[in-house]
Symmetry: C3
Subunit: 306 residues, 3 copies
Amino acid sequence: MEFQGRDIISIEDFSRQEINHILDVSRSMEPLASKGSDMLKGKILATLFFEPSTRTRLSFETAMLKLGGSNIGFAEAEIASVKKGENLADTVRTVENYADAIALRHSLEGAAKLAAEFSKVPIINGGTGAEEHPTQAFIDLYTMRKEKGKIDGLKVALIGDLRYGRTVHSLAYALALYNIELYLVSPESLRMRKDVMQTIKNKIPVTEDANLESIIPHIDVLYVTRIQKERFPDAAEYAKVKGAYKIDLKTLKNAKKDLIILHPLPRVDEIAPEVDYTPQARYFQQVWNGIVVRMALLSLVLGAVK
Amino acid sequence: MEFQGRDIISIEDFSRQEINHILDVSRSMEPLASKGSDMLKGKILATLFFEPSTRTRLSFETAMLKLGGSNIGFAEAEIASVKKGENLADTVRTVENYADAIALRHSLEGAAKLAAEFSKVPIINGGTGAEEHPTQAFIDLYTMRKEKGKIDGLKVALIGDLRYGRTVHSLAYALALYNIELYLVSPESLRMRKDVMQTIKNKIPVTEDANLESIIPHIDVLYVTRIQKERFPDAAEYAKVKGAYKIDLKTLKNAKKDLIILHPLPRVDEIAPEVDYTPQARYFQQVWNGIVVRMALLSLVLGAVK
Amino acid sequence: MEFQGRDIISIEDFSRQEINHILDVSRSMEPLASKGSDMLKGKILATLFFEPSTRTRLSFETAMLKLGGSNIGFAEAEIASVKKGENLADTVRTVENYADAIALRHSLEGAAKLAAEFSKVPIINGGTGAEEHPTQAFIDLYTMRKEKGKIDGLKVALIGDLRYGRTVHSLAYALALYNIELYLVSPESLRMRKDVMQTIKNKIPVTEDANLESIIPHIDVLYVTRIQKERFPDAAEYAKVKGAYKIDLKTLKNAKKDLIILHPLPRVDEIAPEVDYTPQARYFQQVWNGIVVRMALLSLVLGAVK
């Protein structure tokens, strides 16, 4: 199990043993996230965000700062040389001279993989296309294990946009490595992508088209995602669907006391604000977990921890 | 008088005694601003600028760096999750995980107050709506005291856009805590807001619609603000008004030798460039003072000084 | 030869002896670029980029970080006070309070010179108008000397857009201080600017309208620049010209084994990707050299090295 110099492109590149190691290292980062560290002093992370993102970019930058490192980069394609027609391979072969690792967000699927082919320094996929967002999956797993003690044995429901939401694809792949039961709840038009289904349904029991009301008393983890308005050609259709997948206090009436509700954020209105104050809400704690997991990933690929 | 963990939302939240303490701490920051400090090593400031600003954002970031801290953030709403529909409360509950304090600029009045209600970490208002810009007011007061020895006893004229200029509102509230005489000079349509007038005119002598020519021989501080073209429906009206409030050498002919001219900047043409070279000009010195005052505020709310 | 406090505006301000000293200091920065340094601890560079640029901005920021310093700034004019109508002189007189040096990119020729007239801190020209890009010229010279042992005696060809490409103007001025032979290869409409020609042709042998095919067996350095589509009123004219100046394996068939190919990047398609893997390609190594040269310039003007 070697992490130094490794790219973080797809959750599928990691074994269960490797994921568990990442979660262990993440836990060891908790005190350093609070009191700081000089573990990566002198190291530079380049955050190349061709698509905007507050959360992921600031989370990576915070992780780097808390390890004593520094950041360079850009927050949108508009301010980059891309405007002059530079291709991604050239951008990467330029930036690898500046930085010890590169965190990349891009609208095109496969962008992180392409970047990794050209880069001498580790590429960390910060979300590409509608396909993958592996660091978010590590964060989701870390949150489940931190909150529930272990991942094996959990009953997990994924709800919302399972087709275009990149976080749920990475998460589904990862969960399939554990001994869990998976429930998928989504409108017909936003059902889980076929290629993901093929991979996971041979490994774990998956119930598609689950009805939230009937499963809510049994599940341990409710993972909610944003339904993106722009995916619906018809506004009326969107309005109908949207309402059906809104989590509020009524939804939670029959839920387990120790259910945890996760969301990769940003949220629009798929979770009512009243839910924020329930003991089940964990989506803001996930943000903190994002720092420790990214600290773990950065220190692993940069060789600061084994 | 406790500052650790405190939000800096409105100048009205501060007593005269507290403001004086902030000015004292600011003075003690002068040597650190020159030679640097590690007082906030390991601390992170998030600068969330939903409205663009060179000066305020760079000033906060410089203050943080000179205290040994680091910065994360964004410089415009376009590159933030706001595009995806996230509300300010969620943004704050996310970023409080990354940062030890948040400096916020926003186009909406009340945004800083709302942020403070949701945030575990101190919120510093970096300018919200047309209402308040409290850190600029501390800078203005600090500059007056540094240049004139004390604030009590001064005759201060505010000139320009007193209705929409957020800096003059905060400054007027603060000046009303001192024993000063205030003169307000503005076009009819840009007169000081009624709510501000109500508060201050019971505390200090205020002369509204002062004529600059007749008061210029008597005043100690001339505080000039930009008249924003976009406030005028009629271009001819703007042209007429603009000329009447332009400070040049002729304006200063009868001024006191030790008058000081302040301006929160950016300036357009309300102060002629020839004035820059007079002994009265202090608006670029104000920029330096902005660093030391923000160093004081950051180290106070983060508990590094009492 | 005094560098502390000096502006880097135009390559023409530097003697051959001074340039050689900068190249010597650059070489001494190579180990520090790898292992880091605290030479500029506590110092702040402001990168004021009124025009976007990935490479130059990130290169300056990386140089500063590797010397232990910090960065503030903006990556495009849109997010600056410029929107509010502030002039460059005021921006500079503001930012000089925050930073120990300012790296400036601007669309207007003369912007760096103007900035230097107003600034107390050193201004480093990071590319202004179509005129000058002096730090890139130092990088080009450094790369030639590093790769070929010396600059004197080299046969250098500049190819592409010699009229609007700001890097070739600075480079031509610098090369004219050395004992070299210069070949200029460009379409008629993009020939080297007359004022540059006047200066250089009295100092070194210059062959204009050189035919690449006939000179390629003799030259030591092939410096390629991007031909900007937007310079051509007629798309057909562009297409014709573009093809004539594309470097591919066929172009290199008769080249010297130890020819080096440089390009200031970004490239569009004037160098075929197949060339990247030839032993002659040096344009990505130039990016690394950009860091060490900018480390040298920053430590010189900030007085950290003599």
